[in-house]
């Protein structure tokens, strides 16, 4: 559905996207995981035909965005990072005018609106002004709007950033249903739990480059151990103590507030730490996550 080869984007002499290769097959939920400024939105905007690539090759539905932008856009759904709803119109009219941009007959747009409002659970808000909606509702409305043309690919740029946990779960549930209905999802996020929950396949992006590619589980297996032992000592002690425990794990990461010891058996690591007469303030054993993959690949945390 989408293929990019050596895709680049520069703004002046700043390179936001530095040659990425991606290929997205029909029906998958494909994620771009990366911190602020990684180049995720820049990539999405090129795919959505609103930002001409500075180099490389890009094909969407086999077409070239530079030549067939309108044809591609007719078949895409776009949920941008920043809301672009018309806050002076009500929920219903936002969907209605948007459907008309795609050349759909009035009656058909109306039928779809009823279905979509139901799908995003905004039926009772149909006549409400957008201004009066909560952040989560606005996001759901944006998703409904992006579905009005029954897109083959739905592009979601940080669909849940800034929402509270409950609102995020509602959106995840809706996106999951879209995935089951066969819509190809392309989403960016800097939440590893979002990527793990929703994506079949993902790339980890950092500073305009793709640093890893795979399934969430595959990436964790490839770049991390099964478990992680987290040790919390007094403020400022972590750096010095790292040397005393680093032989206990396959790999160690020193964060300002804790040590991460990577091992397939976290409990054993904790026991060994205690047997060395070290007493961390707090300990925790957990499974490795994409956060650990990112940390390993870039030496930085995803959300700062």
């Amino acid at each position: 559905m989408i293929s990019a080869r050596g895709l680049r984007k520069s703004f002046g002499d700043f390179e936001a996207v530095r040659g990425i290769d991606v290929s997205v097959r029909p029906g998958v939920a494909f994620g771009f995981l990366g911190p602020n400024g990684a180049g995720k939105s820049s990539t999405m905007r090129m795919i959505c035909c609103v930002s001409p690539p500075s180099g490389g090759e890009l094909r969407v539905f086999g077409m070239d965005p530079a030549k067939d932008g309108p044809k591609i856009k007719a078949r895409l759904g776009v949920c941008p990072q920043e809301d672009t709803l018309d806050v002076e119109l009500n929920v219903y009219d936002n969907l209605y005018v948007y459907g008309r941009y795609f050349g759909l007959p009035r009656a058909e747009v109306k039928g779809r609106i009823d279905e979509l409002l139901d799908f995003v659970q905004l039926t009772d808000k149909a006549k409400a002004k957008v201004d009066d909606l909560s952040g989560g509702m606005k996001r759901r409305l944006t998703i409904a709007r992006s579905l009005i043309n029954r897109p083959e690919i739905l592009v979601l740029d940080e669909p849940t950033t800034g929402l509270d946990p409950q609102a995020r779960h509602v959106i995840w549930d809706r996106l999951f249903r879209l995935k089951q209905a066969g819509v190809t999802l392309l989403l960016t996020t800097h939440y590893m739990d979002e990527a793990e929950q929703l994506c079949d396949e993902l790339v980890v992006m950092d500073q305009g480059r793709i640093v890893a590619h795979g399934t969430p589980l595959g990436l964790i297996q490839q770049h991390s151990t099964r478990e992680v032992a987290e040790l919390r000592f007094g403020v400022g002690e972590h750096e010095a103590l790292a040397a005393k425990v680093e032989d206990l794990a396959e790999r160690i990461e020193v964060l300002p507030d804790r040590l991460l010891l990577y091992s397939d058996d976290g409990e054993a690591v904790i026991d060994a730490v205690h047997s060395r007469d070290l007493s961390p303030v707090a300990t925790l054993v957990r499974r490795s996550s994409l956060e650990d993959v990112f940390l390993h690949l870039t030496g930085r945390t995803l959300v700062d």
Binding site: F11, C48, V50, S51, P52, G69, P70, K71, K73, A74, R75, L76, V78, P80, E82, D83, T84, L85, D86, V87, E88, L89, D93, Y96, V97, Y98, R100, Y101, F102, G103, L104, P105, R106, E108, G111, R112, E115, D118, F119, Q121, R145, L147, N149, R150, D173, R174, R177, L178, Q180, A181, V183
Partner: protein, 276 residues
């Protein structure tokens, strides 16, 4: 909890077949804007003309004891000022519709960005927006002309009809540069500038309320650069039935070229802002 339903008719979404077809897809958008703003428009459309006619034409005009020879062929001051007020009204509509609303669509609500995410292009957006303001101005100026007609200031029906249609060109000659300006600025602070240094001086010194000959030979030449003077003079020739075809051609060409050039530049500017 319902699943994603994509039942019912499934017309395939398409790219628009042409410029006009694309702009027409935005017709329903502009109708929703109308539905939400018409109440405010009623006052400006129906009441304001009466105030102007009353205050400037009848009351002020009662003091103006000008020799008809100095009024470019008008028999009364009201007949002189009437076409000027109509053209100035068209200009005001252009300023009102293409300043703050454009900034809102670009910066505050960003709905231009939603439009560009659909199969529509900047050229469609600009055509629809300008087409809309032309319709709005024709309606408002039509009402204004009808009000004035009641005062018996027009010579022929054909002249008034032509003067009415000309307002479409007048509004475009302002709407296009103002749109270009609104798309070019960073923040809305700059609007104060074009209202104070643009719209108000244009209204006062473009032959609307007095012949530009009164400005003296030098300033008269300056006033001739004003698009509003071209619009006013053209409208006045038509309502008074004092046609100088050479001047008609000059006015139409001036306004037409200005509108066409700024239209083209506005499309480019909008594309530059939205596509980067």
């Amino acid at each position: 909890m319902t699943d994603y339903a994509d039942s019912g008719p499934a017309t395939a979404p398409t790219a628009p077949a042409g410029l006009v077809a694309g702009a027409l897809r935005m017709g329903d958008y502009w109708l929703t804007v109308l539905a939400r703003t018409w109440k405010g428009g009623v006052i400006t459309t129906f009441v304001t003309p009466f105030f102007y006619v009353l205050a400037l034409g009848v009351l002020l005009g009662g003091f103006v004891d000008a020799d008809p020879a100095t009024l470019e062929g008008a028999s009364t001051y009201l007949a002189f000022v009437a076409p000027g007020m109509v053209a100035a009204h068209a200009m005001t509509i252009a300023f009102a519709d293409l300043t703050y609303p454009v900034m809102g669509m670009l910066k505050w609500q960003r709905i231009y960005y939603s439009m560009i995410a659909s199969p529509l292009a900047p050229s469609h957006i600009v055509l629809a927006q300008l087409g809309w303001v032309v319709l709005r101005a024709l309606f408002a100026c039509g009402v204004f002309l009808l009000v004035l007609a009641a005062f018996g200031v027009f010579e022929t029906v054909a002249g008034v009809l032509a003067a009415w249609l000309v307002q479409g060109l007048v509004v475009l000659a302002f709407a296009t540069p103002v749109l270009l300006f609104s798309l070019s600025i960073k923040g809305e602070e700059s609007f104060a500038l074009i209202f104070r240094l643009g719209m108000i001086p244009l209204t006062l010194f473009s032959g609307t309320f007095f012949p530009i000959g009164n400005l003296g030979p030098v300033l008269e030449k300056v006033a001739m650069v004003s698009p509003l003077w071209h619009g006013v003079d053209l409208t006045r020739m038509l309502t008074l039935g004092e046609l100088d075809w050479g001047m008609v051609a000059i006015h139409v060409a001036y306004l037409g070229v200005l509108a066409a050039v700024c239209w083209w530049l506005a499309i480019r500017k909008l594309a530059e802002r939205l596509v980067s």
